[in-house]
Symmetry: D2
Subunit: 304 residues, 4 copies
C-alpha cells in the first residue's frame, strides 16, 4: 500500500494489519492472538525478533502486547478493574522485577490538553512508595515485598523549554531507578481503536510516538535501564482521516496516480491538527484510572 507508509501509527498491531491485508507473512515477526469472550478482549502479542522484522514493521525489536477492548469506552468500574488485572499481568511479564527493586513511572504529555493528558492523569493515581521505603525500609509499607515506586510528570517542551528526554535522563541519573515505565497518549491509524486499545511494550516510547514530538526515544539504549512503554491511542492525525477517505474513494486508481492526488491534498497544516472524539474527557479519565490501577497491581505483588 502506497501512502500508508507516510501516515504513521504508534501501534504494532496496526503495522501488522497492513501486511495481513496484503496476505504477506513477515520473517522475523511472531504473532499470537487470544480472545476472551466474557471481556470482549482481544490480546495480540507481536514479537519482532530480527532486524529484518524491525525494518519491515518500522518498529524496534521487542515485544508488543496490544489489548483491544471496545468496552473500555463505557464507564463501568468493574469492567475497567478486570482490564486493569489483565494489564497488570502483562506488565509483570515484561517488567521481570526482582525483589525490592525501584520503578520510576513517567506520565508523558500535556496535562492541559485532554487527549494528551492520559500519562499525567494516570500518574496521579499511583501508589508512590520510594520516599517511604527510603525512610522506613522495605517493611515500611507493611508488606513483605515492596518496590520503591516514584513518579514524574515532565511536561512538554513548549512549557519547559527542555526536551522531555533531558529531564528524564537527569532524574534517572540522579535517582537511579531499576526500570522506567512511561505512559503516553498515542496517535492511532484507525478511528475504531481510539480510547479502547492499550499497548504495552518493552521497547519503550519511540520517535514519532504520541501527540507531541519526543525528539529521542525513551529506551534502554538512551537511558541505560529497561523502559516499558504503555500507550493508548486517543487521537488520529487529521491528515489520516482525509487520506483514508480519499484512498477509499480512489481505490481503483493506480498507486502512482493516487500518490499524486494525495500529495496535493494533504497539506502540512493538516499535520498540525488532531482529531479526537467529543466524549474524550470522560474516556481519558476512566482510562487513566484503569492504567494506574494496573500498574498499582503489578507493583504491589498482589496480582502475580
Amino acid at each position: 500500500m502506497l501512502g500508508s507508509s507516510r501516515i504513521r501509527t504508534d501501534l504494532a498491531v496496526e503495522s501488522k494489519e497492513k501486511f495481513e491485508k496484503d496476505h504477506v507473512e513477515i520473517e522475523g515477526v511472531e504473532i499470537s492472538e487470544d480472545y476472551r469472550e466474557e471481556l470482549e478482549l482481544r490480546t495480540t502479542v507481536v514479537k519482532i525478533v530480527t532486524d529484518y522484522g524491525a525494518k519491515v514493521m518500522e518498529k524496534p525489536k521487542g515485544t508488543y502486547v496490544t489489548m483491544e477492548a471496545p468496552g473500555l469506552i463505557v464507564p463501568d468500574m468493574d469492567y475497567h478493574r478486570e482490564i486493569s488485572e489483565q494489564l497488570a499481568s502483562h506488565l509483570q511479564q515484561l517488567l521481570k522485577l526482582k525483589k525490592n527493586q525501584s520503578v520510576l513511572v513517567v506520565g508523558l504529555g500535556n496535562q492541559n490538553i485532554t487527549p494528551d493528558s492520559l500519562g499525567p492523569k494516570a500518574v496521579h493515581n499511583l501508589k508512590i512508595s520510594r520516599h517511604i521505603v527510603r525512610e522506613y525500609g522495605v517493611t515500611g509499607m507493611g508488606e513483605e515485598e515492596v518496590h520503591a515506586v516514584s513518579s514524574l510528570v515532565p511536561g512538554v517542551m513548549a512549557q519547559t523549554g527542555m526536551e522531555t528526554m533531558e529531564i528524564i535522563r537527569g532524574v534517572v541519573k540522579e535517582t537511579a531507578p531499576d526500570v522506567l515505565i512511561a505512559i503516553d497518549a498515542l496517535a492511532a491509524r484507525s478511528m475504531k481503536r481510539l480510547n479502547c486499545t492499550i499497548q504495552i511494550t518493552d521497547t519503550g516510547i519511540n520517535p514519532g510516538s504520541g501527540v507531541l514530538n519526543h525528539r529521542e526515544g525513551l529506551n534502554k539504549e538512551t537511558l541505560g535501564i529497561p523502559v516499558i512503554g504503555i500507550g493508548v491511542p486517543t487521537v488520529v492525525d487529521a491528515a489520516t482521516i482525509v487520506h483514508d477517505a480519499i484512498a477509499h474513494l480512489l481505490e481503483n486508481l493506480e498507486d502512482s496516480e493516487m500518490e499524486e492526488f494525495l500529495g496535493e491534498l494533504i497539506t502540512p497544516k493538516l499535520h498540525s491538527m488532531f482529531v479526537t472524539p467529543k466524549d474524550v474527557d470522560e474516556t481519558v479519565k476512566m482510562l487513566s484510572y484503569t492504567i494506574s490501577e494496573g500498574i498499582n497491581m503489578a507493583l504491589s505483588g498482589t496480582n502475580a
Copy 2:
C-alpha cells in the same frame, strides 16, 4: 450550493462567503467591512434585516460583527489588549446599556475539554460586582456608573443531566438580569479561522452552535431579555475537512455526482469527532483573557 448546507458553520462571515463565491448579492443582508492595517484586523459587520435574508443566510435576523485578527494566535499581551478594546467598543454598541443595569455573563461549554473551555475560562477572569452593588449600592465599587455583573458556568448536559437552557432560564427568572452575554466556543467551516476570529452578535447563541448541542437557542425569544453572543471558532467538525478535501479533488464533477460520493464517504462517526490545532491549550488561554478583558472594559464604562 451542494454539500455546504450539510456542513454547518457558526460564523455569519462564512455564510456570506458562500454567496460571494457565486457572485450573488443577497437581498435583506447589509455588509460593511473595515481593515485596520496596524492591527491586521479585518472587521466585517453583517446585518440580516429581512426574513428572506435570514432564510438564505440560515441565521436569525440581527447584527453579526466578526473580528478577524491572525495575530490573536501569538501570545503578545499588548496586542491582545488592543483587540480587547475593539471588542469592548463593539460590545457596548450591541449592549446599549442604560445606567446601572445588571448583566449576567454565561460561559458555555465543557471546562474539561480544552477547545470547549473558552467560555468557562473567560468567565473566570471577569470582574464580578452584583453582590457588592446589592450590599453597598451603586457607589460600592468606588465608581460613578456601575453595572451589576454576575456570572454562571452551567456545565454541559452529560455532566449535569439538564439542558443548559433549563439552568440559564431558571437563574434568569430568579435573578432578573437586564441583559445576558453568552460566551461559547464555535465550530468553524474553515481551518484558517480557528482561534483568530471573534464573532459578536445580538442574536444570542443558536441551535447547532458550539462544539456541543445546545438544544434550544439562547435569545430574546426564549429568555425574554436581550442576549449578546460572543464566539470564537476553536474546532472544525471532522466531517468538514474530509468534505473539503474531496470537494477540491472532485471539483470538476457534476453536483449530483459529488453528492453521491460524499454521502458514502462522510460517515456519521466523523460527526462525533472534532479537529483542533495541537497548540490549542495556549491559544484558548490567551483568547479567554482577551474576551474577558473586552467585557470588563465594556462594563466598566472606561472604554465608552
Copy 3:
C-alpha cells in the same frame, strides 16, 4: 460552657458532646449509637424532635446521622468502598425515594480552594441519568428502576455575584426535582474530626454551615422539596484553635473572667482565616470519591 456558643460547629454530634460533658440530658433529643469494630466506624444518630431540643442544640428539628471513621484518612480503596455502602444505606433511609423519582445533587463550595472543593469534586464522580431518562424513558439505562439524577455546581458568590440560593432556587423551579441532595465541606469544632467524619441529615444545609457563607438555608422551607445534606468537616475556624488552647490554659478561671480574655484575644481577623491539615489534597480527593460512590449506590437501587 461559656464561649463555646460563639464558636460554631456544623456537626450535631459536637453539639451533643457539649451537653454530655456537663452530664446534661436534653429533652426532645434522642440519641443512639452503634460501633462496628471491623470498620472502626462509630455511627451516631441524633434526632431532634421538639422545638425545645432544636433551641438547645442550635440546630433545626430532624435526623442527623454522623459516621466517624478514622480510617477515612488512609487511601485504602476497599475500605472507602465499604464506607460508601454504609453511607448509601443511611442515605436511602433519609431519602425515602419512590419509584422513578428525580434527584438533583448540588456540590457546594469553591472548587479552586482544596478544603472547600469537596462538594464540586464529589459531583464530578456521579452517574448522571436525567437526560437519558428524558430521552429514552426509564428503561433507557437498562435497569428496571431508575431515578433521574441531575447535578449542579453553583460556584460561590465571589465568583458568580449571585447567592448560591438564588441559583439553586431558579434551577429547582425550572427542572422540578423530587428531592435535593446538597454536599458541602463543613467547619468542625475539633481537629480530631477533620476529614474522617461524614454527617447526613434530612434538615438540609443551614446558615453558618460550610467554609463560606451560604446566606439562607437549603431546606424544605426555602426550596419546597426535601433536602438531604451531606457534609464532611475539612477545616476548623482559626479562631477555634486559639479559643481552645486558651480555654485549656485558663480552665480554672471563672467563666466571666475567661470571657473577658477571649473577647480581647480572638480578633475578627482570625475569623477570616481557616485551619486545615497539610495533606488535605489527597484526603479530599478520596473523600469526594467515597461520597459520590455512596450516592451512586443509593440511587442505583443496588444497595437497597
Copy 4:
C-alpha cells in the same frame, strides 16, 4: 526571646523585627529601607555579611529584599504591573546576568493545594525560550539580547516519591543552566504579611522554608550555580497563631513560666496544620501573575 526561636519564619524582615523590638543592633547585618508612597510599597534590604550575623539571624549570608505592599491583595491589574516592574528591577540586580545566559525557573510546591500552588502557577505564565534559542539561535526570538529560559514544576515528595532536590539536581546537571530562580510559597510569622509581601534573595531556598519540607536547601553550595529565591508568605503555621495569642495573654509572666505553658499547649498536631485566609484562591492567582510578569520583564531585558 523565648519561644519565638521555636516558631520559624521564612522572612528575613521578620527575623530583623525580633531584634528591633528589643532595640538590639546586630553586628554583621546591614539594613536599608525605602518607602514609595504612591505605591504604598515598603522595600527593606537586609544584607547579612558576616557569619556572626548569619548565626544571629538564623539565615545564610546574602541579600534579602523584602517588598511589602498591602495593595497586592486587591485585584488591580495596573497596580500589580507596577509591582512587577519593581520586582524585575531587584531581580536583575541579584541575577547579574551576562549576555545570552540560560535561566531555569523552578516552581516549588503542590499545585493541588491553593496556598502552596504559587510557584507552579507563576511558572505557567512565563515566556519560555530555551527550545527556540536552541533551534534558531539567539536571534530566533526577534530580539537582540535573549536569555534561554526554561522551567520545571518538580511536584512534592508525597506525589513523586523523590526529594525536590534530587529532581532539580538531575535536571540542572543535564541542562546546565547558568542560574536558577526558585519560586515558593512561604510560611510567615505574622498574619498581616500574608499574600502582600514578596521576598527576593540570592541565598536560594533553604531548609524549613515553604509549606512543605524541602530537605536540603536549593543554593549555590548544593547546586553549583547561583540560586535566586522568590517567596511570598501564603500561610501561617497553625501553632504560630496559638503561640501568639497565648504569649500576648501571658506577656507579664516570666519567660521560664511561659515556656512551660507553651510546651504543653502547642501539640505536634498543630504543626501539621496550616492557617490561610479564606480568599486565598483569588489572591494566589493574582500574585503568581505579578511574579511571573516580573520575571518575564527581568529576563527580556526591557526593564534594565
